[in-house]
Symmetry: C2
Subunit: 297 residues, 2 copies
Amino acid sequence: MNQPHEPVRAELVAVAVGVLDGAPRVLTTSASQLQLPAGPLREDHRSMQAGLRAWVEEKTGLRLGYVEQLYTFADRDRAGSERTISVSYLGLTWMERGDLDQWVSWYDLFPWEDQRDDGVLRRALEPHLRAWAQAEDAERRVVRCRVTFGLDGIDWHPELALQRYEVLYEAGLVPESPDWRKALPPQIVGPWMVHDHRRIVATAMGRLRAKIQYRPVVFELMPPEFTLGQLQACVEAIAGQHVHKQNFRRIVEQQHLVEETGGTTSETGGRPARLFRFRREILDERAAGGTKLPRTR
Amino acid sequence: MNQPHEPVRAELVAVAVGVLDGAPRVLTTSASQLQLPAGPLREDHRSMQAGLRAWVEEKTGLRLGYVEQLYTFADRDRAGSERTISVSYLGLTWMERGDLDQWVSWYDLFPWEDQRDDGVLRRALEPHLRAWAQAEDAERRVVRCRVTFGLDGIDWHPELALQRYEVLYEAGLVPESPDWRKALPPQIVGPWMVHDHRRIVATAMGRLRAKIQYRPVVFELMPPEFTLGQLQACVEAIAGQHVHKQNFRRIVEQQHLVEETGGTTSETGGRPARLFRFRREILDERAAGGTKLPRTR
DNA sequence: ACAAAAGTGTTCGTCTTACACCCATGC
DNA sequence: GCATGGGTGTAAGACGAACACTTTTGT
């Protein structure tokens, strides 16, 4: 009854994310081209997660902490023969000051995703988006642009990163589009990446931005001790938008996500800040709990 | 630089869900054992989704509507040789009255997941859970049970279906546990399924219950025209708990999820109800929009 | 008449958002 | 002393949960 399985290749791809200097960054293998750490699933890998960790460590020297599966896709890519199944993962780490060369800021990859400077880069895209929308099937396209990019007074949703990338891809505005005649310069639409790695990063960004709102995953990106200001800056970096200080603190404290260490630091400038640590216990205690983002108009 | 890929088998597994008579049901292949529709990814499949649809149609005759990827796992199962990578999908359909034999109610599979009868079946489990929790590593286990199963006045979260299944699995209370000496009778913990198919169904249940709260996916399970009462019953079936009638209606109407057809039906008994249809346009218009569930204590 | 389900108006409390202001340090 | 970031109280408003009650059919 069962036909014989046709063999395929299985590949593991990692989006390792860390936050430093106000920007989330993804780990790339230091090569001439921008490329995510990846490699085939091997016999000696106990599980796919273990295999992924091994590849990341082998290619970049980094030990991942938190890891979660993102998405799996099958490509009939390179020249006939076998199919490749790519299983992508999101990994989070705490970045220390230092070797930045392998780490690419995701706002260099997706400049329009940073809304903190009042969305100047998004606005650089707006005319091109509208032109594309008007060109064909206008009604649906206009609605789609307005929703994904928050045009005409509609809320901007940080977690729609993938959908925005898809619009730009279809519109031929990014260099990797099949239809790339009208691609814009990399300062506006970001640089090219190998295969569909940029799409995978966009997936990771959307997922992380969504997850941060209902699960306490920010702490995977923080050092063991941190100030509330640093924590807030980390959330803002990921979300690409500002959050209200008092509301942020209320949420964090009233959900008992952190506890004081007793220490303070004056490294942040201004008045010394109290240091906190993440209460790992709440991972058991609570089903939910994240740091909600405000609605942005 | 790249080692040769070791070949693996790729398998597609479907959790097809429909709702009928107040219970969500999953499609199984009519065999002596409970088993989900599945089959290898073939060369002639254009994509994994297409392959999945083909397998479901071939094995059961059903054409799936909405499909989304669930999770991918690698098993070093049957006797050495090649590894199998299983990519699981959630599919939704509208069920018409009729052939029920291939459809298994997910409350037959997971009796404790139905909270509508005031959770009698959950309470049948409670003593066994507490016994397991006390046996070893009590502090963490007790917290875990309370959170996942909503004991001691903690909220019950419908979307934690997978986590609950995992607790029962570890506790050896379900027949498929490696440690099944203490497994309870199927009226309480449900029947055995092939491989890890029951875990996959639990994953699907959790995902669907979560998704229904922020995306208008319920409508994929409804006929083209329906009453608000039927829609509410569908949501309640999926969530396994009751929702407040007036609040439910307010949300549905004020989000413009539906529009009147003009017709009415008296099939529901009592006063005839107005018929509605889903406004498919809002899939473009809105980023979010679902039918929130109340907190249950 | 009565059961059964449809359908509506209004109150109450919590959670969200935002404003304004004070505090402690370095230069 | 002033710039810089840390830290807090409190009010306006949106949103969710819940209550009770009316309407229209079938039997």
